[in-house]
């Protein structure tokens, strides 16, 4: 019984429920938003420390033995992702206090935020493939509602694309789960990993692998399946887009990492090439799309796509070092990308627009905001000694070691293009003078343009931005201990025997030989015994 595995799921669910109980009380909901997310951060730290010392932490739901019940498992990858969820959750909790309008709060902004975090945490921790689908849906439904909060025209149009394509991905995922169950007769991911090697029809396994790749590819916004992302991520309230940008697509990437290291590791073959070039095209199209944009959040949305390419590249190179680099990229990107969206929210508050052409002069007006943007933007582009540099460095090094020179070259060129986009934002928003026709800021802010009224809420917007920028610097400075953790992740994912053993409680080899001898007849049920011939 290890409660720390279940806590990151239970706490946000509880906060969501408490928040719903206080439906009419705005101060109470705001209090729960911060207190609940502080609790989540503490729980995720606990899980991280426990995983660091134990390697794997498992918990069988309802005390059903492993392949029959639902397993919660935290390996190093899950623990790091949960830790990032906790950090971003708290940052968003505080930031939302200042940016969320009363109208949005009245329609359940905070309960939805908690449910979204619960869905994300559940997806990171589950060891059961159908349960993964369920957590994806929990997360999706919460994100649907958050996306259309406010009900403006752009939101509706963005939401239709977002909802349709994500539901399509869910159905592909669900169909794949059904076919997988028909093929191997189990839903436990560790058990699937053992049994899938013994499936007679190799073609069936390949079909399944492709279905999972497409389903998670849509969710992760990989080329050519990313079009829903730039069409919708710039439409909702800024705190929501920051939360989406930081966490949601990364859940898709996490699922790709999990499924393609644990279950389909034997079938990579030419799929690996498809994934590799998919990753490269994702990087290139994302960064080119951003180059053509002049809207703050839209540029950032395209850069999400571009950065997803780096993460998938780490998986596609498929060496322990490359996987470590991919996870490093995920971690760094969650911090930096969220922060850039948060900064776009502050500049919107200050100047009333997201259009770069209409903005300007912020370097003179708010030098510290400029510094925070500078750190995050250059970290995204991969300038040393910030966090992005090390993520890119590890991936590039793994690429050179794997002798994938063309791919590595493109990855470096994309870094340069990212720098171009970031410098464009820097020039337009911070460096150039404010255009004449816009010297009176548009009065869209709820609490006035300047002076005392705005100060307390601006403080709450600055706090997460400064802390996250600091994280980006610290990740860069303490890259070595972090790299040790990443190497553990790389080794754990590359050799999933430890994961399988932790879930099933038996050494993987022994279990496999049992299965091969066909003596494995469960006594507690028929679920796993009825494989279709």
């Amino acid at each position: 019984m290890r409660p720390e595995v279940a806590l990151p799921i239970l706490l946000p669910l509880l906060s969501g429920a408490v928040s719903l109980l206080f439906w009419r009380s705005r101060p109470m909901q705001r209090f729960v938003a911060v207190a609940g997310n502080i609790a989540l951060l503490i729980a995720s730290l606990w899980l991280f420390v426990a995983t660091l010392s134990d390697g794997y932490i498992t918990m069988q739901m309802g005390s059903w033995p492993a392949p029959f019940g639902i397993t919660l498992i935290a390996d190093m990858l899950s623990a790091v992702m949960i830790l990032m969820t906790g950090i971003i959750g708290l940052a968003m909790g505080i930031y939302s206090l200042a940016t969320t309008g009363r109208g949005h709060e009245k329609f359940g902004y905070y309960p939805l935020m908690h449910l979204l975090l619960a869905g994300v945490a559940g997806a990171f921790l589950t060891g059961d493939i159908f349960n993964l689908y369920v957590w994806f849906e929990v997360m999706l439904v919460a994100s649907f509602a958050l996306l259309i909060l406010g009900g403006e025209r752009a939101q509706m149009e963005g939401a239709i694309k977002y909802v349709t394509l994500n539901l399509l991905a869910s159905v592909i995922f669900l169909s794949a789960v059904g076919l997988l169950y028909g093929t191997v007769g189990t839903l436990n991911m560790a058990d699937i990993a053992l049994r899938i090697d013994m499936v007679e029809h190799a073609g069936m396994v390949e079909v399944l692998a492709v279905m999972f790749m497409v389903a998670f590819g849509i969710k992760a916004a990989a080329f050519p399946l990313f079009f829903w992302l730039p069409a919708s991520y710039h439409t909702p309230p800024v705190a929501v887009s920051a939360l989406f940008a930081g966490l949601l697509t990364k859940v898709g990437v996490y699922a790709l990492f999990r499924v393609f290291t644990l279950i389909f590791d034997q079938t990579m073959g030419y799929l690996q090439d498809i994934m590799l070039w998919g990753a490269v095209l994702t990087m290139v199209t994302g960064v080119l799309g951003a180059a053509a944009q002049y809207e703050f959040r839209r540029i950032l949305s395209f850069h999400i796509v571009s950065q997803i390419g780096y993460m998938i590249l780490g998986l596609a190179l498929y060496t322990p070092l490359a996987i470590a680099g991919g996870v490093f990229a995920i971690m760094h990107n969650i911090v930096v990308k969220t922060n850039l969206f948060l900064i776009s929210g502050i500049t919107h508050r200050l100047q009333g627009t997201y259009q770069l052409k209409k903005m300007g002069g912020l370097y003179k007006e708010r030098p510290w905001l400029a510094v925070a943007f500078f750190i995050s933007a250059f970290s995204l582009a991969g300038v040393p000694p910030l966090s992005g540099f090390f993520a890119k460095f590890v991936i590039v090094r793994a690429g050179i070691e794997a002798e994938a020179y063309v791919v590595t070259g493109i990855a470096l060129a994309v870094g340069l293009m990212t720098l171009y986009s970031m410098v464009k934002i820097w020039n337009e928003v911070f460096w150039k003078a404010l255009p004449e026709q816009n010297h009176v800021p548009v009065a869209t802010t709820p609490s006035g343009d300047d002076g005392r009224l705005i100060k307390p809420s601006l403080w709450m917007m600055y706090l997460p931005v400064v802390v996250l920028a600091l994280f980006s610097v610290l990740i860069g400075i303490f890259a070595e201990p972090i790299m040790l953790v990443m190497n553990t992740i790389g080794d754990q994912l590359f050799e999933p025997e430890g994961y399988i053993e932790a879930v099933l409680g038996v050494a993987a080899n022994a279990q496999e030989s049992l299965l091969e001898a066909n003596e494995f007849q469960p006594e507690t049920g028929t679920a796993a015994g009825e494989e279709t011939p």
Partner: protein
Amino acid sequence: MEPLMALAIGLLYATAIFMMLRRSIVKLVIGLLLLSNAANLLIFTTAGMTRGAPPLIPEGMLQPVGEVADPLPQAVVLTAIVIAFGVLAFAVVLIRRAYEVVKADDLDKMKDTDT
């Protein structure tokens, strides 16, 4: 039974994709509905269909006698139906709001956020 089910499932998937490719947002939602039904039937069929043998353990025994139906895909399908129901309810409300805001039942008129 299986060939018939396979045919029905294939037809459902095809109809769903066809409906989703139309321009009307109402047809889009009908497509989503059919798609989730197709997936549910697929799970039900691939897990193996056993006729008239409920997974019940006779009194005084520890495991069922003879061949019984696998209860797990049924539990899975039930969960998937509930999820699909909730999501579709949301989708229906969404297209109603979208229709009110955009004043058109036409996806081609919803291109403002595209790039």
